[in-house]
Symmetry: C2
Subunit: 337 residues, 2 copies
């Protein structure tokens, strides 16, 4: 964490203790990038011109399972020793993280259990089960997925794989930044000077910040869910407020960021930007028409910030498109405008 809390700290009871947790490092990000390079082709990087500037777009939507989450899952699961691998992994997520963990577990022959709400979209449940993972359902209203997952992990001796509050996960996601820098150099673009990243829990943004120590970092969240922005401004973790507005960005609905991700971004003086639902929808349309990419709402917020003029085009601007898993009906409505 950066600095101390205000003298009369209203959040004193909530102070996060991070002393005993391994911190994610740049060396860890490079290690993750080396491991990923042996496993997956780089997610494609595209460019487009904005006011005479060439902007680079990193299309994490084209990863297996449609999001960057395979990166962190791969780095975490490959770091487990033989005994831990035999005992399996447990994760809770109704979305991209679940698929990422299930994908990595399948390739490594590790048993994966995913805790997912009973009302999760059938397509996501089926996709997770198709990867061989066991899906354990829970009731969103009466049960805590964290507790269920922790109980399962304890009972089986399995490793719990958090979606962002974990040094391996952060380092793994950061491999996207290493790859993008390689790709930008290869096509003659300047090194990344400013990277704009969608932010839920902040794992991807923190990892990329570690990967690119010379770049400015902007994290983008949906309006009303911009707790990382507020936290960075306050130099203290602030949760999402009560009754946050509805958002199409299901993958960014994190109620509170993690000390690990906050700390990395805060030390790097990262800035936060919030975008409206209409700006996100416009970005999804632009991506379909101009990049021929299907981008999910949460994956399009960084592009939305650029298109809405909240981030300025500049040489070395890198915009991350973090995922492409859409509900087709909702997506069709967005494209129809």
């Amino acid at each position: 964490m950066r600095g101390d809390p205000p003298c009369k700290d209203p959040c004193a009871g909530r102070r996060q203790i991070v002393t005993f947790v391994r911190q994610p490092t740049r060396a860890g990000v490079r290690d993750a990038a080396d491991k990923l390079a042996k496993t997956l082709p780089p997610a494609p990087l595209f460019t487009a011109d904005f006011k005479g500037m060439t902007v680079a777009f990193k299309a994490e939507s084209l990863q297996p399972m449609g999001a960057f989450k395979v990166r962190g899952a791969w780095h975490r699961l490959t770091a487990l020793d033989g005994d831990a691998r035999r005992r399996g992994v447990v994760a809770f997520s109704s979305g991209n993280h679940a698929q990422g963990v299930a994908w990595a577990a399948k390739r490594l022959g590790i048993a994966a259990t995913i805790v997912m709400p009973h009302d999760a979209p059938k397509v996501k449940r089926d996709a997770t089960m198709a990867l061989g993972a066991e899906v354990v359902g829970y009731d969103r209203k009466t049960e805590s997925r964290e507790q269920i997952a922790a109980r399962l992990a304890e009972a089986r001796g399995a490793t719990l794989v958090p979606s962002f509050d974990d040094p391996w996960i952060i380092e793994g996601q950061g491999s996207a930044g290493v790859e993008a820098a390689w790709q930008m150099e290869r096509i003659g673009l300047p090194a990344p000077a400013h990277v704009v990243v969608p932010c839920g829990g902040g794992g991807l943004a923190a990892g990329i910040a570690l990967a690119l120590p010379d770049a400015r970092v902007t994290v983008v969240e949906p309006e009303g869910w911009d707790d990382m922005r507020r936290s960075l401004e306050a130099s203290w973790i602030e949760p999402v407020g009560a009754n946050p507005p509805a958002t199409a960005c299901d993958s960014l609905q994190t109620l509170e960021v993690s000390p690990l991700t906050f700390d990395v971004l805060s030390r790097r003086d990262a800035q936060g930007v919030a975008v409206s639902e209409a700006e996100t929808a416009a970005a999804q349309r632009w991506a379909a028409e101009r990049l021929r990419l299907v981008i999910e709402p949460g994956g399009a917020v960084a592009l939305a910030a650029l298109l809405a003029g909240k981030v300025r085009p500049e040489p070395g601007l890198l915009v991350v498109l973090s995922g492409g898993n859409v509900d087709l009906d909702a997506y069709a409505r967005v494209l129809a405008g």
Copy 2:
């Protein structure tokens, strides 16, 4: 052409003379692939499992300008000598070929003139002009674009760049097959055993057939526009019939294939398959949901043939997704089903 026409040839007056035209060759395709490799990253290749078989998808929709057409344009324009380059190029197309020629011309500093109907979509007109090309309009009902283009080329001493009836264009498009074979080998897939390709004039299909001499070749067309299929069965070029049905596949509405493309495909015993509009729409939805790719109708017909069971999954199956330029409103309606 393969064999002689039947004894009492009803098409005797239409016999094509190809003796004096250079034939496209496999060496030319390899040369084109080498040239493209220095200019563009390979278009990404994705995989998906069908009944336990891994099928490869070549995403030409992710090329600059959203289609494979940059390949042929680049191979043709780079083959022009300095004098020809100074005199410029002329092409007629309201779609992907226009953009491909304009893109290559801009990068090579060659003046490009594109003959396009007055009622072409504004977005395509604007995109072509944004690349610095001159757009010459014509009236679809009263004027012939071929004649206008030929007149312009003659008056300026410029080179006419056909969209498929040209050995360089065919060889250039074939570079997609060379690339795909490299990519399949790199990820441990068997060499292409069967390649399935959308077909308008047949330039892409013929080029890929030359690139992959050991693969079976299937060309896919919309129902009622399956003149290449009929021509291959008849061993003689047959045009599209009178009053063909409406199709969403604007990029495949070619009224007659070329002796150059027909000859290559016929010698290779290529097969033809026709798909319905509903099958094409289903393929566009599948590509959006499963590959997170925006694919235009004409670009999705080969995938449609696979999904409809008209092409069987097998080891080494390669399916080409040839373009991704959609009208957003029409695309939204397709996704909404």
